[in-house]
Symmetry: C2
Subunit: 683 residues, 2 copies
């Protein structure tokens, strides 16, 4: 020690400064702007400010730290240790006082702006910066000589202890405040919404004394088929429960267009669907709160992502205009509301945030994908495809980002495929065809065994082999093409042309027998040429959307492809590329982002700055309307070929052999692929 | 005319400038910042911008105005004239174009910030500046090449045409916007709330095309006994209907303390009372909207004033703490809410504003009185007394303003008086006693005749003479004192002492017979010495509150006295002063403000700047808590005397003779006046 005040060095930030002997570590941290959490404001109650002192020589920092560098373990720490236990080596930052030079580590969980772990390093970081935080304060008692409301004295305490602006109080707070202050002996814990463009900063809830629990938020992905919610702890960022329900709107129509039609055909139909989705939402909230064993009233914030039709119906807007050109949205900007305005049963003061929509067919879900995948931050040119019944496509890098949607239709979900089905136990999800024997083998959901493995029949005895799901049909078609059973134009060859008894004449075209389960009381699973046509149209729509964006960007290749959506998570990149669904690209550069829309919702929930970011990004995204782009039609026709009539797919051809077969014997043998303009949009 | 552009001079503002030939008058007005109204933005639709050109020589302005100074009457004006008629000499400012030098008068009704006429010149001006205004705009149609929401294009139009900031939309607007835009052929009229400290500026409603109606606001005075509402046109400021209902909380207790007790004694009692008052409020809204023949959904704003207990119960706050020292308010600041948060059935987006409370016993009603009477703007030292069962007292001038409340009790409303009653037909409201004969005469509510006028009995045959109302009892007691029937200590003399047969022994003290209606089947109306005691206590409480403020101000006289409250409107200043209710003051300086609290509510409704003003004023008001001021007790004892034991009342004595009588024959003959500390507060 020397004459100067002791030196305090914080890691990992590296911030350092000299403080008088006896300065609490929390005070030093605050003065240096070190990110050290605290709810109780240094009163030794909340234990959020835990730190770990390091002792010994630190040549890097040029200090030696004595064992006595911090004050002795005190009664407050002992009480906390007895009650809850403290990780060995940890101290409470508000209790431990600086005695001599010291190096102090702030563990991740003690950082207010802690980083939430994401599995995928290439995507956006999640740094905690939630809308709502907890603050503990001691409040002055009322004084007849200087009359002021209890609220005004609370606001004053929050201002002086926490540097918060002059807060307003929710009406529910007015009701609970006086009993809480008296029960807490003039101390309370407040949940404070820090404000946004719509709402001024506001006290949402008060608890008497120190509130030892947490507060929660919901990240909700409102899909046409399912509604999925992640319940997140707004202090730690942790997902404490996840749950899903079917969208009850399904009874009004399976796909989006049929729901738009329902609202057109039925007076009050839109309102009926609005009520249905909100009721479903409330049921889901009960479910997810029950799963986490928390009170639903502790949910103070919620972020929603959805496609434009769902967005409008959820908000109570008739989606009529979205069903016809020019596909005008009622509003495209992000929306902040109170949950009660949407009849949502959360905390009475809870807030709701809906991400902005990008365009009439590119919704808040696509914005959430953009938020999760951050193309605008990518040096590589990134193509993000959210594969669903309507594909949303983003292409961009730090220079610019383009977006469009393309009407893929429901074929990728197994619909309109003769043996197609939703992904469920018993559905074929992986397929291989031996190029020599042309015989297939496959796996079904619910079993790890291949269909030619011993014990397969026993393994699938419960589920049966019931059909082919979306990822299965993609592998199936690609494997048929690789095995020379299918030509580039999408014709299945005859038994004679292919030399395979699995091919058989089925009306005017040929089909391929994948599995005959009739002996076991199950279905015969075949792929018809009509099925191939459906997949051709779906993948052509997807590819031509991506290709159109590449045109607009002025490139003919992309650096990286991200497949988003639950379906995207199951697609085999190789098979998708054989099909020509996605542009030619090194296979290791094709990755799945899983439910990127849901992740985007979670990011916006946990970090309000991310909301401003995505609002700006969406403003800057250049929207392309495929319906009015002449080249889309041309790309579509080319992309109907497998993999493509004109694109070379050079990288793909280094990996696989694409047999040069042609089963056309003159004269079209089926109706051919529809043009994209004849297809209506679906969700 | 000379080479320069024509000179345009506006009156009454005197603003002037030169504009090119052909400039519309509205454009010239806008460029000069002349206050000329317009809803349609100069499209010749709304007719709000009517102006009157003047012709001939104007030496004062140094111009000569030709008959041709404005362009000819045009087709738009002709269409308006045919449809609705235009006052002769008027032109539409957006159609009439400047041709040569011209003097243009902007009539009051064409001014956006028009002044609303108030009868009393000494009180605050009301200048229109409402929270919510109408704006007509033409909106760009959607374009697939540049997708944006209909709302965003509307917001853009409001920004570019009206210089409005980027507005948000209420959720109801999202629902109605798309059909309205299409029905109005891409024109709509918007009701826009211009924002406040709580809410960002926001579109509240849209109508297709030009909306030709008005929008409305409510100024509500929520009293313990009655709820009164004024429905105001938010464009003209006019009161279009006024109505009142009994406060349904009366079933839980007549006065405030009994309601506070009800909430203490009954679990859920406060919630019950909250529901009751809100239901009563909604019934009143139906009534007032029906009276004005308008749709209740056109009511977009509402301002409420009330005492602290009503304030808390209306907001859903248990008034428990207001029933006991230190009388802590849950909140004292002004409150902005959505009407739906208080379960009020107005427009779904309607806003609510509650004025701030001054202290635990000096509520938003007293703040409203301060807003109406503006003591902080008065050069004279002004005493404002809101006479009710709890008197709120303000004393101040431009230097400072003090406030207190004083528990007068219900005697001034005729309660706790043996023959007392509410002001209603049949109640005695004016009294005179002949100083020579000591015989009384009186008037009752519902008749102009005095009781000794011929035909009086016939005139009151329907109502009867049923009792004495508050203003009647004040005149009665003052007249008894002037006639020498009552001494300064408040004792009624015996028939022998007074020489009046109207005095008679009534138990241990004397009473005075005012009217014997028994022959007509009515009651005998007397004033007992107990009645005198009640009035003494009430007036002593009022006076001692005022006197305490004078002490604090460091004065022993005031320049002016304003009596507020419905009751205050009926009090005779002379009699009030004989009683010693109010400080000595020239009688012509004692005026009634009528329902100043209601007027204050109306001011806050029509001018949002006034809300900021009263918030500031209330912050600056110095609050005095009478209960803890030792001198209050001393003033109270002195003020129990009629008019006062120590104050000279010199001005009063120049107007009236106060007989020096003393009827005390040794030994107190009744219980004497209670001290103020024994009284509980009432409302």
């Amino acid at each position: 020690m020397n004459d100067a005040n002791p030196l305090v060095i914080f890691t990992p930030s590296g911030k350092r400064g000299r403080f008088p002997v006896g300065t609490p570590v929390l005070t030093a941290a605050r003065q240096l702007g070190v990110d050290l959490d605290s709810v109780c404001g240094g009163r030794g109650i909340c234990s959020k400010c835990q730190i770990t002192p390091s002792f010994g020589d630190f040549p890097k920092h040029g200090v030696h730290v004595e064992k006595t560098a911090l004050s002795d373990w005190n009664a407050v720490e002992q009480r906390y240790e007895d009650k809850r236990g403290l990780t060995p080596g940890r101290r409470l930052g508000c209790q431990a006082m600086v005695q001599s030079d010291v190096v102090i580590d702030v563990p991740a969980e003690s950082q207010m702006h802690r980083q939430v772990v994401r599995k995928r390093v290439e995507a956006r970081e999640i740094v905690m910066n939630p809308s709502t935080r907890l603050y503990y304060v001691e409040v002055e008692q009322p004084d007849m000589h200087e009359p002021s409301g209890d609220l005004e004295r609370l606001v004053k305490a929050l201002r002086s202890d926490w540097d918060l602006p002059d807060l307003e109080a929710d009406i529910g707070v007015l009701k609970m405040l006086q009993p809480a202050l008296r029960k807490g002996n003039w101390t309370v814990t407040c949940a404070v919404h820090l404000g946004d463009a719509t709402f001024s900063p506001r006290i949402m809830h008060v608890w008497p004394g120190f509130y030892d629990g947490s507060i929660y938020g919901l990240a909700v992905d409102l899909g046409s088929t399912t509604i999925a919610a992640h319940l997140c702890d707004l202090q730690s960022g942790e997902v404490v429960a996840s749950s899903g329900v079917m969208n009850p709107q399904i009874r009004f129509g399976e796909d989006l267009m049929s729901r738009v039609s329902y609202s057109m055909m039925n007076a009050g139909g839109a309102d009926e669907m609005t009520r249905a989705v909100r009721e479903g939402m409330n049921a889901l909230f009960v479910q997810v709160a029950t799963e986490a064993a928390i009170d639903r009233n502790l949910i103070l914030d919620a972020v929603f992502v959805c496609n434009p039709v769902m967005h409008h119906l959820f908000l109570g807007i008739d989606p009529f205009e979205l069903g016809q050109a020019p596909f005008a949205l009622a509003t495209s900007e992000a929306i902040s509301l109170r949950a009660m305005e949407l009849d949502l049963n959360l905390h009475p003061a809870a807030r709701v945030y809906l991400l902005p929509c990008i365009a009439g067919h590119v919704g808040a879900d696509a914005a959430a994908v953009a938020l999760s995948e951050a193309p605008e931050q990518s040096e590589e040119l990134l193509l993000v495809v959210d594969v669903g019944t309507n594909a949303e496509i983003l292409l961009g890098n730090t220079k610019k980002v383009l977006a469009c949607s393309s009407p893929t239709g429901p074929a990728f979900e197994g619909a309109q495929i003769s043996s197609g089905q939703r992904a469920a136990p018993g559905a074929i999800e992986r397929v291989q065809i031996d190029p020599a024997t042309k015989a297939p083998r496959f796996q079904v959901i619910g079993s790890e065994l291949w269909s030619d493995d011993p014990g397969f029949e026993a393994a699938v005895a419960n589920t049966g082999v019931t059909g082919i799901c979306g990822s299965g049909i993609i592998e199936m078609v690609a494997e048929m093409r690789l095995a020379g059973l299918l030509d580039g134009s999408g014709l299945i060859g005859s038994p004679e042309q292919t030399g395979s008894s699995h091919c058989f004449l089925d009306g005017r075209t040929h089909s391929y027998l994948l599995w005959d389960g009739t002996a076991l009381g199950g279905p015969k699973i075949t792929v018809t040429n009509r099925d191939i046509r459906e997949i051709q149209m779906a993948k052509a729509a997807l590819y031509s959307g991506a290709r159109l964006l590449m045109d607009k960007f002025g490139v003919d290749r992309v650096d990286r492809v991200v497949l988003a959506g639950a379906f995207g998570a199951h697609i085999s990149p190789k098979h998708a590329m054989v099909l020509g669904m996605i542009p030619d690209c090194p296979l290791d550069k094709v990755t799945s982002a899983g439910n990127a829309a849901g992740t985007g919702a979670r990011i916006a929930l946990l970090n309000t700055d991310a909301r401003r970011d995505i609002e700006t990004t969406v403003h800057n995204i250049h929207k392309i309307e495929t319906a009015i782009e002449p080249r889309f039609q041309e790309h579509f026709v080319n992309a109907s070929n497998i993999p493509n009539a004109v694109e070379p797919f050079r990288i793909l051809r280094t990996i696989v052999d694409l047999p040069e077969v042609n089963f056309n014997t003159g004269g079209r043998s089926d109706g051919g692929a529809d043009g994209p303009r004849r297809r209506r949009r679906r969700g």
